[in-house]
């Protein structure tokens, strides 16, 4: 982490709600986060926790016909002196930020790339809107990017279609697109989930190397705690639309405090490797419409805990430098026996 932490992206009281049968339900329900310059910030949680909904909110990629967003997303991108509130940007300004200042990498590179466009064309499309390069220079730059992301034969890949590449190569192409306009921030939504473990290792190495070179920040959205431990500087754990714990990575793994974080770390198989039963969490993650909206949202999963362990309206508590936990239940939490 850099010595002086300078904010790059500040999310303030973000709510992202989706319309289901005429009613809006918040998938991101009051999130406050700050991502600093030159850091890898991981957001971890299980499906339905709101992490992907939040990632897509950051550049407003949700369909506006059934999505409502409240709050502020302040972006301190390069170039402009004052921060911009992404939620208030007009179409053309928003398109400058998208791809230009914030690049995105998605989970499944096969479906995320247009099947009918050649790889070179898909990279150059970003260059068209965010650089002044002419046609020839765009091609040269696309080749250079393909080489930067580790393609062995950039000239060949340039002319290939997505289906002609392997999964790992596709994700490299996706990364080339995301970094093509030298963005200040990369948002990677489960970038290695669809890949084999050896390919995952290569892609993570690539992201790490590019980050070092570009000095940009990365928001890494993942369900994989191993990936978090390998990559992140700081981590936010999400549950039911809220951030329940934020901490520097060594602190989160070495001294996890929130009951949900502790439960998750406890249910990883293979760590102990053996005959023991795995830790499980009571009940299941409710769907969007059934999300608890009041009190400590995780309390339903820890029925053995007394009611007064929780706050009526949970607040964040600083338990160490940069380490925040939602609700007071962390103080008395014990695993059920």
């Amino acid at each position: 982490m850099p010595k002086v932490s300078e904010a790059l992206l500040e999310i303030k009281n973000l709510h992202t709600s989706f319309r289901i049968e005429g009613q809006y339900y918040a998938a991101v329900d009051g999130v406050d986060l700050t991502v600093f310059k030159d850091e890898v910030f991981a957001v971890v949680g299980e499906s339905g926790c709101g992490k992907t909904a939040m990632a897509l909110s950051m550049v407003r990629l949700h369909n506006i016909n059934y999505t409502r967003m409240d709050g502020e997303i302040l972006f301190h991108g390069s170039g402009s002196g004052r921060p911009q509130d992404i939620l208030k940007l007009k179409g053309a300004e928003l398109n400058k930020v998208r791809g230009g200042h914030i690049g995105m990498i998605f989970q499944d590179p096969l479906s995320a790339l247009n099947p009918l466009h050649r790889i070179g064309q898909q990279i150059e499309e970003t260059l068209v809107y965010h650089t002044d390069l002419d046609k020839e220079r765009r091609k040269a730059r696309a080749m250079e990017l393909l080489e930067n992301v580790g393609m062995t034969d950039p000239a060949l890949t340039y002319t290939q279609f997505p289906h002609e590449l392997s999964g790992g190569m596709r994700q490299r192409a996706m990364i080339a697109i995301a970094i093509s306009a030298k963005p200040d921030l990369l948002i990677a939504d489960e970038p290695t989930t669809a890949l084999d473990v050896t390919i995952q290792a290569q892609i993570l190495d690539l992201i790490r190397a590019l980050k070092k070179e570009m000095k940009s920040s990365i928001i890494l959205i993942t369900h994989d705690l191993g990936v978090v431990a390998e990559m992140a500087d700081r981590v936010a754990v999400m549950y039911a639309g809220q951030v329940v714990e934020t901490a520097p990575v060594t602190e989160l793994f070495g001294n996890p405090r929130h009951p949900y974080t502790r439960s998750l770390l406890h249910s990883i198989p293979g760590a102990a490797g053996g005959e023991n039963r795995l830790h499980t969490i009571h009940g299941a993650v409710p769907d969007l419409r059934g999300l608890p909206r009041d009190g400590c949202r995780f309390s339903r999963r820890t029925p053995w805990m007394p009611g007064d362990a929780h706050e009526a309206v949970p607040t964040y508590h600083e338990v160490g430098p940069g380490h925040y936990v939602l609700c007071t239940c962390y103080k008395t939490f014990r695993f059920e026996e």
């Binding site: 299980e46 499906s47 999964g167 084999d196 473990v197 050896t198 390919i199 995952q200 290792a201 993570l204 190495d205 369900h223 994989d224 705690l225 191993g226 990936v227 431990a229 390998e230 992140a232 990575v249 060594t250 793994f253 070495g254 439960s263 998750l264 770390l265 249910s267 990883i268 198989p269 293979g270 760590a271 490797g273 053996g274 039963r277 795995l278 830790h279 499980t280 969490i281 299941a284 993650v285």
Partner: protein, 308 residues
């Protein structure tokens, strides 16, 4: 006598080409794979996509064409599909799938889904059938009112437990579980893995546990086979594989697993880079003509590695 013996299993598909569509080569999906599973034991079959691990599972169930080799179940040769169908094998070996969303018929109630194998093989009255289904549901930790619901009313983990209930309905001896928890969240995965272990003890089940997740496999399996390029590159006990991985592919696979201790980050990266370097630089020490996997050689009583 082992419960299941697979001897020199081959699943080869012809590649056709030319105007007349003549055979011009073979895709070797599974190539000379040999192993056995004892009753009540779990064998983990680990590999990356395209390694042939799923095809191996399918071939045992008769869902992939067996080109050569032999499959024995309780000593009976069931390689041939006609003999397989006549023997109790079809009841004794069941499958659990990865995709919990498409493997359950969305238009059927849970009762009908679980009772389907019972209806195919056992003549039960309606009341007996309901009783069996309730028992099965309780084994996998669901209540009996689940029987009248449809699959969409359940979460991913519950669906996988319904899949498990269906698989154990006929009291099988062996379950082939193909990536049974890969689509599930961590906390849900833990529930399903616990249930799989519980019913194993209760019913004396054997598992062929096919997975790419080395953490899950380590938790579940006493014995492991690592598959690469359609063949076994290493075979051994959990101890053998995790404490003294010998083939470069196994080592590379293990080195690639992210460690959940951020303090070991640099150390892991170093090791990973070292192994990756050895994998590219010294391939000929481990592979015939740099791709072919050698036959397995015993290096201890339990541990076998594909080395020249």
């Amino acid at each position: 006598m082992p419960l299941l013996e697979v001897k020199n299993l081959r699943v080869w598909y012809p590649i056709r080409g030319g105007i007349l569509g003549r055979r011009i080569g073979w895709v070797k999906a599974v190539d000379d794979v040999t192993f056995s599973i004892e009753a009540g034991q779990t064998l983990g079959l680990v590999g990356e996509s395209g390694s042939g691990k799923s095809t191996t599972g399918k071939a045992i169930l008769g869902l992939a064409h067996i080109s050569a080799g032999q499959i024995l179940f309780e000593g009976n040769d069931i390689t041939d599909s006609a003999r397989r169908n006549r023997s109790p094998y079809r009841k004794s070996v069941q499958m659990v799938f990865q995709d919990v969303y498409s493997s359950l018929n969305p238009r059927k109630r849970v009762l009908d889904i679980i009772a389907e194998p019972l209806r195919n093989f056992e003549k039960l009255t309606k009341a007996e059938e309901k009783k069996r289904v309730d028992e099965l549901l309780s084994i996998v930790g669901l209540t009996s009112d689940a029987a009248v619901k449809y699959p969409f009313e359940f979460s991913g983990g519950q669906r996988q437990r319904i899949g498990v209930a269906r698989a154990i309905a006929l009291k099988p001896r062996l379950i082939i579980a193909d990536e049974p928890v890969s689509a599930l969240d961590l906390s849900v995965q833990a529930q399903v893995l616990n249930y799989l272990k519980d019913i194993q003890k209760e019913l004396g089940l054997a598992y062929l546990f096919i997975s790419h997740d080395l953490g899950v496999v380590r938790h579940m399996c006493e014995h492991l086979a690592i598959m690469h390029n359609s063949r076994f590159v290493e075979f051994g006990t959990r101890e053998d594989i995790y404490s003294s991985p010998t083939h470069i592919y196994t080592r590379r696979l293990i080195a690639a697993i992210p460690d959940i201790d951020p303090l070991k980050r640099d150390e892991n990266n170093r090791r990973r880079i070292e192994v990756a370097k050895e994998y590219t630089d010294r391939r000929e020490d481990y592979y015939l003509d740099s791709t072919g996997v050698y036959d397995l050689k015993k290096i201890s009583a339990t541990h076998m590695v594909a080395l020249p």
